[in-house]
């Protein structure tokens, strides 16, 4: 198995295999497609499954053409039967396969909670580490155009609450490819949460396969007055906020968590110790959310550095409304971050 030859590396630098690190600018969707395609090519045990996965649209383009290349046994359309089929994927993973289960929306994951939480997450531990579940689950956060309450949820915190799972939230094409390949090659059940609004983002991405391991965040922009620690699409709102703040003489550091379980505590602490102020911007709700965990880490381990109360810029505690007028009121953007930063530095 080619994957097993790769040394796991926990440093910030991705693990390349293949040597040729030539990069081209590609979109987030194509970075995902490339990762899946290379995983299928490199390891015969990898297969993809999901309702509509071989659809001409190809799950927003991320699986387009893969069935044509790899056949319908390895790129498998399936019944709408999420819980049972998640169990099937877990069973296949236990027996040596490396399945990737693809869901059009995060909102369909609650259907699979039993198999993910009670089975996939616990199997390694319950077997004393003897049996692993190398399963990757991709799910997409929808937003806008009246997606409403059941087609736009950001449920990363539900999974980040479960020992035994990994939860990655790539914000950039480079990370999407590397984190996905790292997850598929890894031995732990991993939930990859993607945001629909990231799919057209472009970045230089090496063509050769490489892996990024879950658990390391990244400083996307250096700053000294305030740390904005963010996830997924909120990384972009945070960067926009940082540019605005710069004009006002506030130097904001933007940290992209990349993975919410495990969470890069070290990076959170070092950034907060440097700036003394913390805003957390997550795509989910604040209550018992990823942002709460970041705030708790800062409170527990960088308390003395804090010069102002921590602020969370997250979704309000309501389901998603349909009307665009209410959608506008619902989603916080960079202006909310800017306002919070101003208040905190005033």
């Amino acid at each position: 198995m080619p994957w097993t030859k790769i040394q796991a590396d926990d440093s910030h630098t991705p693990v390349f295999f293949g040597g040729d690190e030539r990069a081209r600018e590609i979109t987030y969707r194509n970075a995902i497609r490339e990762a899946l395609s290379q995983a299928l090519m490199t390891d015969r045990n990898v297969f993809l499954i999901g309702e509509g996965i071989d659809d001409p649209g190809g799950v927003f383009g991320t699986t387009a053409g893969l069935k044509e290349t790899f056949g319908d046994e390895r790129v498998m359309d399936c019944a709408i039967a999420e819980n049972g089929l998640t169990g099937v994927a877990i069973g296949a993973a236990i027996a040596g396969m490396r399945p990737v289960f693809v869901h059009m929306r995060v909102d369909f994951l609650p259907m699979c909670m039993d198999q993910i939480i009670n089975h996939a997450a616990k199997w390694s531990y319950m077997t004393g580490g003897k049996v692993k579940v190398p399963l990757t689950i991709r799910a997409i956060i929808g937003r806008g155009w009246g997606s409403a309450a059941q087609h736009s949820q950001s449920l990363q915190a539900l999974f980040a609450h479960i020992p035994g799972l990994k939860v990655i939230m790539p914000a950039s094409p480079y990370d999407a490819k590397g984190l996905l390949l790292g997850s598929i090659a890894g031995d732990s059940p991993t939930i990859c949460i993607e945001h629909r609004w990231l799919y057209d983002q472009k970045e230089e991405v090496p063509e050769t396969p490489y892996m990024i391991h879950a658990g390391k965040g990244l400083v996307r922009r250096q700053g000294k007055d305030i740390s904005i620690i963010s996830t997924s699409y909120m990384v972009y709102e945070s960067l926009r906020a940082a540019s605005e703040l710069e004009k006002e003489g506030i130097s904001a550091e933007v940290v992209d968590l990349r993975s919410v379980l495990p969470m890069d505590e070290e990076l959170i602490i070092s950034s907060v110790m440097k700036t003394g102020r913390l805003i957390v911007a997550d795509t989910g709700v604040s209550v018992c959310g990823v942002a709460s965990e970041v705030a708790a880490i800062a409170a527990e381990q960088a308390f003395d550095s804090l010069k102002a109360p921590v602020r969370r810029i997250c979704l309000p505690m309501t389901p998603t409304p349909a009307s665009h007028v209410l959608e506008r009121a619902y989603y916080p953007d960079h202006t909310a971050i800017v306002r919070a930063a101003r208040e905190m530095t005033a």
Partner: protein, 327 residues
Amino acid sequence: MKHMTRATIPDDTLKELYAVMLTIRLFEDRTCARYAEQEMKCPVHLCIGQEAIAAGVCAHLKREDYIFSTHRSHGHCIAKGMDLKSIAAELYGRSTGCSRGKGGSMHLADPGHGIPGTTAIVGGCIPLAAGAALASKMKGDGRVSVAFFGDGAADEGVFLESLNFASLKKLPVVFVCENNFYATNSPQSARQPAVRIADRASGFGIPGVHADGNDVIRVFRTAAEAIARAREGEGPTLLEYTTYRWKAHVGPNSDIEAGFRPAEQHEEWMKRCPVEMYEQRLEQQGVLSAQERKAIFGRIEKQIDEAMDFARTSPFPKPGELFDDVY
């Protein structure tokens, strides 16, 4: 009601069935026409081609009977008597919409007409209908519940779990599967072995009936029996109606040109338009004159005009309403 299976159907009922089907068709057509203006800012899952099922089933339901439906619910809600204005306003995201702009096209609701809500989670409505039927049985209120769902939903665990429970408790519920052969763009053959969905009922000891879902009279007669059975306390029935969705899974366009489904298949089904076939039949039987038909058409178009005008001139919700109705 059992006699309905063979008895002649009164002319008024025949005409009413036609009017309901036509209302659904024209409402969906209008939605298509208006959608390009980008003022209905929500995904719409249209049921053009599938109207006969909603009309034929709901014809037997009383106002207080319950229906539970899916992402593709416009037709069911119209057939159950919901006001077109409140549907249109919901599509337009207005505060006068049936769900006050919170739900959009995928979450129409009207408790006053026995529509407690519709869900966009595939299969989600099936146990809800069984649960409402359980309540009716416990209260002895005589209501019947109907779950409408697609062929795709029949693979969800909750479908089989619900059939089991409903059969065991002899609940007054009818499971109506609209088999349009596709779930988004997945053909049935990629998802299910080639066995009739209706046959799954036998595993639970309840009747499973398959019929042509584009023939409104067949739907009307088979549904009559199932609903009468439920009402008389004899338990649930699974009805499977084959039909075809004319538009894309979501949105007003056709997906045939894009190669999502075979063009020949689409054309075959277009020839079996449920509305046109029924129109011809009524004309041949002398039940509906051309003049009457025109009058019905005009009346419905006017209702739809009014509904759309009402929606477009209605106020949007106020941003603060975001926080209302969470509990």
